[in-house]
Amino acid sequence: MADGTARTDGAAEPVDLSRRVFLRGAGGAAAGGVLAPALLGAAAGGCAAGATAGAGAATSAALAAPPGADPAGRELVGEVEIELAINGTRQKLVVEPRTTLLDALRTRLEPPLTGTKSVCERGNCGACTVLVDGEPRYACLQLACDLRGRAITTVEGLGSPEKLSVLQQEFVAQDGSMCGFCTPGFVVAITACLQRDPRASEQEIRRACAGNLCRCGTHPQVFAAALAAGRRLAEGQR
């Protein structure tokens, strides 16, 4: 698995339009762009194949070749080591070019960051919301290797159980979490909203988390928590 050694993937040709085949044709960022333009990060950055590849920045349509792959860069397979800035720390991890940020956080980091939840894996639910350079993004629609050089913040980066952010404190106080599986996504999405404007109205808050699903039905408490946190933040409280 994540042993750091790159290899060539000798798999048989996939039989359907898998993400991988799609990526070969379209380039990673474009693939995400088709799926959810609103939540996609800047598409121009592309993927540099990391330290072991020693390649510089490349465009997303022609990703730099990982070691062991076709030197022309057409064959985007194998594993590459990249470095990501996650919650203020630079972390090395081994991913495949097709590995989403969501899977990278949850399955490739050591130790993994599992606060970001995997629920639909296709941009329908918001449970995987993270901040990329301060903007909310669905981690399931981002390719990990596209995010080199970007500042990624997950729910763990906003506060810890011992030192909760103002919004997290209000989520607890207002009972904004029941089963809690959707909660990290709501917390991150609303954090971004309040960072833009702590005086956001309830309607703005609703819009900020309209892309987040909650099956337990915590919405009214979530809105209350967001408004209460906004008031405190506007007053400069921590």
Binding site: P14, T107, T114, L164, F171, D175, R206, G211, L213
Partner: protein
């Protein structure tokens, strides 16, 4: 000195103690001291004396949930773990024509391919093969490399096809089940003929998905040897551990089942399930831990659902609006399962009734319990026909309900809910409005009930350590309802401690016997057991202190100001008192007690909607709920749960429902993109009221009743707004336009 936990001796006259409480006198909150009985066992203290319970208590696991630190089954990582994924039957019935196992095994990273169906599949989404690999991505490659080919066999996935002469058989036996009947048909029909007003209509509800955000699945941590730990997203920690032990071929006691947190279940998650068995098999084969969680599509296709129903109801009433007769014919659509439907006339009484209910089987996933199984379906039929009857007879919609409700609690609830929703000022109380404006406002009502009692097997343990810390434990699990929090809160109440001073442990099969969390039984099972354990622990602690201090055991009181004795002026701080305990501390086991719980919870809801007759769009403006809850352990969490039920009902009313293409044998909406659950912009104003006129001092489960009548109330409100009677859920704009005759 060895401390043996023992029961508290019951006393004839319970001693009294003074407590501070707030009372509202002339509208001003004042702190008063009142004297209450220090009840030794078997009863909750009087509500007015409660310091922690029946208040708003933030969850003890809130901080880990809001910061992403809570560990769900999905998040479990153990060394050497492999990732497994499922291949499902893409058709309702098919011959498995080709599976290229060699190709799948050859995929780098793939470590195991397990075929679970080689010949023929019999339902849409039935698992066919499992691929385990070193990475999630490689497991997906393995699935694709299988290059599975399926040859269609004749199937039935809709009612009409299933009941047709010569229809392909669904399993053994007839596709239409034997009738389950109730009541006297001749009497009911005679009563209908004699009634002043009668109406007849057919109502249909779709299959609803649980749509828990955490999918079903397990992590089986078996690395060879005699022991295993199994993590499972489940509503029954002890149940799946035993199943896993059997599948792994280990002694039952050697397999520990753990569910620290779970991301929703709503009735769909009890056993180990097929995927759990496969994970065990692979783990046993590889002697390596296996992570197998369903993906979203599999969750929709193979993890159960709320059965659909089609019901034809005929009801009649006398001139005053009393139901004289009701005849119902219903079909349940539970796929391979039997489905469920509560008895009509549901929460109402009719002079005479008769019902005939049959299940219609299809080549689809079997239905499972879902939050109040059978109730929302019955409620939709019953509340709809009641409104149609009221309009036909020119009666007030609240009045007809007050008159026919089967329990007086609903009458007082209807009055209050009608007030809250503004019924008296509403113009359409006996006739629906007309589609004559851009925004037509309507109001609808519904009532519900649920049994809500607990399970007598439930046990709990309380440990008081020498350092003053307290641990409460029970094997039951917290589904997000706040079990952990009220376990801690009960102990805090009993020992006079802050909630934060108590640690609650649950979701572990090794802890004292818990309960399967279904049918709202968790709270009325666990809370009494914890309370009993605390009472016994207090008794044992008092007996110990009696020896240490040379006082009578009966005189000790545990309160927020420490430990006191009737015959002493000074107090002993809790930590000091605990310091006198032997090194192993003190522990006591408690058992469920009938007297600490209560059964039968009633709920009434109203909905106010705005319908745009030009587009057919429905917006819910306001929902009101008033519900009995017995003794509320935590008012904050009770309200959250009630609201959650109402929001699920809103989804059932306006958006949810499995969509199939019968000819192609596909589910068209097996994703959150097409299966629509409510989101932030659709949440109405919500008035959520705990019915404090319910003074029963026992704990009840509160989760089911609020999920029942909301959809009926919304459907009735749509009709009330503009005269569009939509008899099939969900009420999508096209159906509203159809009902208004705007499209044909």
């Amino acid at each position: 000195m060895k401390l043996e936990p023992r029961a508290v001796p019951l006393q004839d006259a319970p001693p009294k103690r003074k407590v501070k409480t707030t009372q509202v006198v002339n509208g001003i909150e004042t702190e008063v001291e009142i004297e209450v009985e220090d009840v030794p066992a078997g009863q909750w203290p009087p509500r007015a004396s409660l310091r922690v319970l029946n208040h708003d208590i933030p969850r003890v696991d809130g901080p880990v949930k809001v910061s992403g630190a809570a560990r769900y089954t999905h998040d479990v990582r153990v060394p050497g773990m492999v990732w497994a994924r499922l291949l499902l039957s893409p058709l309702p019935r098919a011959r498995v024509a080709a599976l290229d196992l060699e190709a799948a095994r050859a995929v780098p990273g793939v470590v195991h391919v397990l075929v679970v169906e080689r010949e023929e599949t019999g339902w849409l989404g039935q698992p066919v093969a499992v691929v385990a690999a070193e990475t999630l991505e490689a497991a997906g490659d393995g699935l694709r490399a299988l290059a599975a080919r399926f040859e269609p066999l004749p199937w039935v996935v809709d009612h009409a096809a299933a009941v047709r002469e010569g229809a392909p058989a669904v399993g053994r036996g007839a596709n239409v089940g034997r009738p389950e009947t109730d009541g006297d048909e001749a009497r009911a029909r005679a009563a209908l003929s004699a009634s002043a007003t009668r109406v007849r209509a057919t109502y249909t509800v779709p299959v609803q998905h649980h749509a828990s955000l955490e999918t079903h699945g397990v992590v089986v941590d078996y690395r060879g040897g005699e022991d295993a730990v199994v993590y499972c997203s489940t509503q029954y920690a002890q149940g799946f551990a035993a199943e896993a032990a059997k599948e792994l071929g280990l002694k039952a006691g050697n397999v520990r089942g753990v569910v620290e947190h779970m991301g929703g279940g709503f009735g769909s998650k009890f056993g180990l399930d097929a995927q759990g068995l496969y994970a065990c098999r692979i783990a046993k084969e590889l002697k390596r831990p296996v992570h197998l969680m369903l993906d979203r599509r599999a969750e929709f296709l193979m993890s159960g659902n709320r059965s659909g129903t089609s019901m034809t109801i005929e009801a009649g009433c006398d001139a005053q609006g009393s139901l004289t007769g009701l005849v119902a014919e219903a079909w349940k659509h539970g796929g391979l399962g039997r489905g469920s439907l509560s008895g009509l006339p549901y929460c109402y009484k009719a002079g005479a009734h008769f019902r005939d209910v049959r299940s219609v089987r299809m080549h689809l996933d079997a239905s499972r319990a879902m939050r109040a199984p059978g109730h929302p379906q019955a409620s939709f039929g019953m509340e709809s026909i009641l409104d149609e009857l009221a309009y036909a007879a020119g009666l007030d919609l609240v009045e007809i309900r007050r008159r026919n409700a089967a329990h007086p609690a609903w009458v007082r609830q209807l009055d209050r809910v009608a007030r809250e929703i503004g019924w008296d000022q509403h113009p359409h109380r006996t006739q629906p409005g007309k589609p004559d404006r851009e925004e037509c406002i309507g109001i609808g009502f519904g009532i519900s009930n649920w049994g809500s009692g607990g399970s007598s097997d439930c046990e709990a343990e309380v440990r008081i350590e020498k350092d003053g810390s307290v641990v409460v434990a029970c094997a039951a699990q917290d589904l997000g309802t706040g079990t952990r929090m009220y376990m801690a809160a009960i102990a805090a109440e009993e020992f006079g401690l802050p909630v934060a001073a108590v640690t609650a442990r649950l979701g572990d099969s090794r802890l004292p016997t818990g309960v399967a969390s279904g049918g709202s039984v968790t709270t009325p099972s666990v809370a009494p057991a914890v309370k009993d354990a605390c009472t016994r622990a207090r008794g044992a602690f008092a007996a110990h202190l009696a020896q240490v201090l040379g006082r009578s055991a009966e005189g000790f009181r545990f309160g927020p100001d420490g430990v006191r004795h009737d015959g002493m002026t000074e107090r002993l701080a809790w930590s000091k008192a605990c310091g006198t305990l032997p090194a192993e501390g003190l522990s006591a086991r408690g058992k469920w007690q009938e007297s600490l719980q209560t059964r039968g919870v009633r709920c009434t809801q109203a909905a106010q909607v705005a319908v745009d007759p030009g587009t057919g769009r429905v917006r819910v403006l306001h929902m009101v709920c008033l519900q009995e809850v017995g003794l509320a352990l935590n008012r904050l969490a009770v309200k959250s749960q009630i609201q959650g039920g109402m929001i699920q009902a809103l989804g059932y009313a306006l958006g949810e429902g499995r969509q199939l293409d019968s000819a192609l044998g596909l589910q068209l909406n097996a994703s959150f993109e097409e299966y629509k659950i409510p989101h932030a912009l659709e949440i109405p104003r919500m008035t959520t009221l705990i019915d404090d006129d319910d003074t029963r001092n026992g704990v009840a489960g509160v989760g089911e009743p609020p999920a029942i009548p909301g959809a009926s109330a919304i459907a009735n409100a749509v009709h009330n707004a503009c005269g569009a009677r939509v008899r099939e859920l969900p009420i999508t704009p096209d159906k509203v336009l159809l009902a208004l005759g705007k499209v044909v």
